[in-house]
Symmetry: C2
């Protein structure tokens, strides 16, 4: 389990060997066949699929065929609100929003303010709870449909999850959970329980809609362990297994590692003033050569370049333009300064527009909260009775 712990939920890095990860986790690579299936249903192609930013899955094909057959379906993803949102966070949300729009699906979005509070020594509960509301603004700014988007804030909406969670918990021993999540004697008992709450959301739609509901979870591969276990126990509890589709993590702007709030200078936050965001790009670590002369002679390495990855994963829709950028870099005809300046200008524009929507979102948060729309599922409902 050593390897899985290194990319477990609390310690993910970028520029990861994703092939190896697939083997360790036992997920399936996303093939052309699944991509075509999804694009056919969506009626549209998506760059994150073509470029395998979403690159592996569990039962995506099953989910799609259930969707096509007319079964009730839903989306589920979430966020651990321990700070401001950066571009690495919104990457899977952008794809999730596309799925919601194209497939017309309800999205359940979990804000795990409990997890973050329990995990981070110095974080106060009120603080992580406040970040849950702050981070909701980013979600709303991305254009999710409030009629179909339901935010669960764990500490406040625990009533929706706990009756499902205890039924999950009864099936999971300490030793199973320790093996998966790397618990030790000094782990606090809140963290030992927490994973069942993240599993519980995958079964919530079935309870709320009162019918078998197939759930697809777009999320980083680092979150896979939760739902791998949820899949193992789903049928014993009378729920469909949740499907997953995994994205790669956006690299930070430094020489290594995913974009992370632990290195704020390498992360572009949605709340960064546009000029600050642009500046961060200008200071980014690239795959270029030390001098312009060498760059022209030897070419750069876009495969290990945080700036190129930003284009590939978020800021260049056109495959042709991306290809051209790739080869211009490799052959030395594109200089890092120019490449960064172009990205900086796109990032500046994105931040400016995003922040306008984000400010408007302040008045809309209530419309997105699950508690404003659904009653807690009754213990006496059809499903829990089983």
């Amino acid at each position: 389990m050593e390897e899985s712990v290194q990319v477990g939920p609390w310690a993910a890095e970028a520029f990861v060997d994703y092939e190896k990860l697939l083997k360790v986790f036992g997920a399936k690579p996303l093939t052309d066949s699944e991509v075509r299936y999804l694009e056919r249903i969506a009626g549209e192609s998506h760059a994150m699929l073509r470029r395998r930013v979403f690159y592996s899955h569990r039962d995506l094909d099953v989910f799609l065929s259930k969707y096509e057959t007319g079964y009730r379906c839903a989306l589920y993803t979430g966020r651990g609100p321990s700070g401001s949102t950066h571009l690495g966070h919104i990457l899977p949300w952008i794809f999730t929003r596309w799925l919601q729009e194209k497939l017309g699906l309800d999205l359940f979005f979990q804000m795990t303010d409990d997890e973050k509070f329990l995990h981070e020594e110095k974080l106060d509960l009120l603080e992580s709870n406040s970040f849950a509301y702050e981070n909701s603004l980013d979600l709303i700014a991305l254009g999710f449909d409030y009629r179909k988007t339901h935010i669960i804030i764990d500490t406040e909406d625990i009533g929706y999850l706990y009756p499902i969670a205890v039924r999950i918990a009864k099936k999971l021993t300490y030793s199973t959970q320790r093996a998966t999540f790397g618990f030790v004697d000094s782990t606090n008992v809140g963290l030992i329980f927490y994973p069942v709450l993240q599993m519980a959301v995958s079964f919530l739609p079935t309870e709320l809609f009162g019918e078998e509901t197939y759930v697809l979870i777009p999320a980083g591969i680092d979150q896979d362990p939760y739902w791998r276990i949820a899949r193992d126990i789903a049928q014993g509890l009378g729920y469909p297994k949740p499907s997953q589709v995994h994205n790669k993590l956006l690299p930070g702007l430094g020489p290594e590692g995913k974009m992370s709030s632990s290195k704020p200078e390498t992360a572009v936050y949605t709340t960064d003033p546009p000029d600050v965001g642009a500046q961060k790009i200008m200071r980014a670590f690239t795959g270029g050569q030390p001098t312009i002369e060498l760059q022209k002679k030897l070419g750069g390495n876009p495969d290990r370049c945080s700036v190129y990855k930003m284009y590939e994963m978020l800021f260049e829709d056109s495959d042709a333009m991306l290809q051209e950028r790739y080869w211009s870099c490799r052959t030395g005809s594109l200089i890092c300064g120019d490449c960064k300046a172009e990205l900086a200008s796109r990032v500046r524009k994105f931040l400016k527009e995003f922040q306008e929507k984000r400010e408007k979102a302040r008045d809309q948060v209530d419309m997105y909260l699950i508690r404003s729309k659904f009653d807690k599922p009754s213990l006496r409902s059809r499903t829990v009775l089983r």
Copy 2:
């Protein structure tokens, strides 16, 4: 910890060596001085105090002096709803009701339907939840004041507890909890988390009333470990330490062990038809001699007699009459058959009257539920902010 595990929350026996228990748990014996202090405040004496049915405590004196000084105070006790209520369960509730009446205190009563579901392999969640409502009828039949009695059903009222519980959980490591509760690798993760919910109620009154509230918990000594830990961490979380007063467990009607649903023939349930209850008494194991002749010659042993204990702990208010019964037995002038017949008749009468009140209680349950009276404490309240 071996000894504490044997009388830990999930494995309590009766005819226990209570002196030894006191030493193991480190609680204080209830002395004449505390009994007099409480009786003075209550303006009345209580048989369960005089006879040390309640026999040990933690900071009862502190609680009483806070009460007297005018601090806000409350009571807290509860029940694990895994079956019907028997006389052993209602023993501490009778005393608690007396405290509520004499001291004018709010009572928070926790129904741990989650715990029982998690603990008992074959128990369904809907079942333990239904028992929570059934058991509430017994509470109400005892005459608790609905304006001051607030029932918390864990799976449904988790929202009141969880924000407090995560703050407790962050302070408790797996190894601490394992040492106290005897967890092993195969313990399910629900049970590992559960204790913090039982601790959380001791802090809830402070949150709900928005002021420092001193809590007294009348309960069996077997439940002490939960609140011993709650006391250890209370001040670090900004709450007063809960006080406790411990009762001895009512023996069952068999040769040994507390009254327990695991041996239903040795337990008198509040729902037993009065004649069945009386019959169980007639079949009870006593401290008497094998024959009437020997009894007359050698006398019986009331100290090891389930029938005598029933008089002492529940069915004989008069100290003089109890003394007389004790010595009549010891000297052989009282025969078990007669002694049982008298108790059987009192039990029959009790059950008949109790069950009438219990039926009336069906229409009153809602008035006792915490959710019908209090909003969930806000994360932004004064106390959680600290």
